[in-house]
């Protein structure tokens, strides 16, 4: 099998990730529940993972890193907690349904006013148009750091600056960039970073969360046990417990810590350079095949390891099926949970075939992918 669906989840992880999860399953007690050795193993591991993520994102401190089941849950916490009747929110057409659906629900059920910044056919956005969307009631901007369809990275520092000038908070969806693109919350003025653990952070599925800038407060969305202040009637108002009720996925977080530690050892820049080389190699090869059309991927400030394409007028699902069945190559076709982006690119009917690479892929695998595409295009 050749796995080119790393934008969905990284399948090939550093071996220490699985080792950490296995050790955690064998060793951990309840995280934050009790102070015996087994519980402390879990508690300290979770704390170390918070600290590692705070360092990775340059968040204020470990306490401002809150775990959730995934980035979708994290984004829902932000959107449902911060937006209320009369508020205005801004997003972009590059957003994933994990942003769009919670926003649309707010619009439908609570009359939250939602503006969507358009994306052009080359997947770029117009930052002047973005600024024109602000209103006196704009409370929150929720944008993707990079398109999960084309890999284009957007200038979130610029967007944050504009949002702050208008008195709004900015939340970025880093599903495609956490671990793949260096992030600096302090430098870029990011208020809220929603992350997933199982993609470029190399953690297990079921991990993700939020990193919050100092002063950002989100109402708790669930209440329950925290292992602290048990006699208080209400959820603690301090972080991370404020947004964490119930036993955390400490087994998964142990794996996430191993993944983040791997990233820190290797360096995001170094791994990103490997991915970039594979991506460029693939794109160059694909563009040499007659009938192949590539979408986006040429943003000024960078791209992730994604190449989205179509082969002539072939349905993207047909191409993905041929790649999987005949060549053992795993890619993702269809809508990628990014309906507005597909409409912007004109691929809402055909879909697109998304190849996405990780640092564990090899140039030989990339060349095999190009050969397979060439044969499919000839057929």
């Amino acid at each position: 099998m050749i796995y080119f669906d790393n934008a969905a989840t990284t399948r090939m992880k550093p071996p220490q990730v699985a080792e950490a999860v296995a050790a955690a399953i064998n060793d951990f007690g309840g995280v934050g529940r009790g102070v015996h050795e087994a519980s402390l193993d879990a508690g300290l591991t979770v704390f170390r993972c918070r600290r590692a993520l705070a360092t990775l994102f340059n968040a204020p401190d470990a306490k401002r890193v809150v775990f959730a089941a995934n980035v979708t849950e994290a984004l829902n916490v932000v959107i449902s907690g911060l937006l209320h009747r009369g508020d205005h929110a801004i997003t972009t057409a590059a957003s994933h349904n994990s942003v769009l659906r919670p926003l649309f629900r707010k619009a439908d059920e609570e009359q939250v006013d939602v503006s969507i910044l358009s994306v052009s056919r080359d997947a770029s956005i117009d930052y002047d148009e973005y600024e024109r969307l602000f209103k006196p009631t704009t409370r929150l901007v929720v944008v993707t750091h990079a398109s999960n369809l084309t890999g284009d990275v957007y200038d979130v520092a610029r967007m944050a600056r504009i949002a702050h000038e208008h008195g709004a908070l900015i939340c970025i969806d880093t599903a495609q960039t956490a671990g793949a693109v260096p992030l600096d919350m302090a430098r870029d003025g990011l208020d809220i970073v929603a992350f997933t653990g199982h993609k470029s952070l190399y953690g297990p599925q079921g991990t993700g969360g939020l990193a919050l800038a100092e002063g950002v407060d989100i109402p708790s969305f669930k209440e329950g046990g925290t292992g602290t202040h048990s006699y208080d009637r209400r959820q603690p108002d301090f972080y991370p417990e404020h947004l964490e009720a119930g036993t955390l996925n400490a087994h998964g977080i142990a794996g996430l810590l191993a993944g983040v530690s791997y990233l820190q050892d290797k360096g995001i820049d170094s791994l990103a350079a490997q991915v970039h080389e594979l991506t460029e190699r693939f794109e160059e090869g694909a563009l040499g095949i007659e009938g192949i059309k590539v979408y986006g991927g040429h943003a000024d400030i960078g791209r992730t390891g994604i190449v989205a394409l179509n082969v002539g007028e072939l349905d993207s699902g047909t191409v993905a099926d041929a790649l999987g069945h005949d060549y053992g190559i795993c890619v993702r076709a269809g809508a990628h949970c990014a309906p507005l982006m597909h409409r912007a690119l004109g691929t809402d009917t055909q879909g697109a075939v998304r190849f996405s690479f990780s640092s564990f892929n090899t140039p030989e695998e990339v060349d095999a992918g190009i050969r397979a595409l060439r044969e499919i295009a000839r057929a």
Partner: protein, 140 residues
């Protein structure tokens, strides 16, 4: 199940009585007799290495609202060579579950400074008699 939870009633419990006395004296010392630096009293525990009963050692328990703060100070303190141990917060200290950090009372001033520098929030500093005593407080 609620009936089986430990209560906060300290009457008739010798260990808790000692604890209360030690805490009261500690707080009085903290509040009235210690020099003030930047608005906070400089900790110089009057009980450090002074037994509550002959042969009894007093440790200090640092308490926190968040587990993350306790773990943060534990790791930070150890990295700076201080002896710390994470323990269950005695129920008598606060009416809630939680983790505490057992430290030498003589280290408290340094640990407070470390916590301030690392932006770690502590709730309280409480002297406790003999934490390895099997008769010690009941836990959550």
């Amino acid at each position: 199940m609620l009936e089986s939870l430990p209560t906060n009633n300290m009457s008739g419990n010798l260990t808790l009585g000692c604890f209360q006395l030690a805490r009261l004296l500690f707080l009085l010392g903290h509040a009235f007799f210690l020099p003030v630096r930047e608005g906070h009293p400089i900790f110089d525990c009057p009980f450090c290495h002074v037994p509550a009963h002959p042969g009894e050692k007093i440790d200090c328990c640092l308490t926190f609202g968040s587990h993350a703060d306790a773990f943060a100070l534990h790791e930070c303190a150890r990295a700076h060579g201080y002896s710390t141990r994470i323990s269950t917060t005695p129920r008598a200290i606060q009416a809630s579950c939680g983790v505490g950090l057992l430290v030498e009372c003589g280290d408290v001033a340094h640990l407070e400074e470390l916590a301030r520098r690392e932006r770690i929030d502590m709730e309280d500093i409480v002297p406790l008699p003999c934490q390895i005593d099997p008769r010690r407080d009941k836990y959550c």
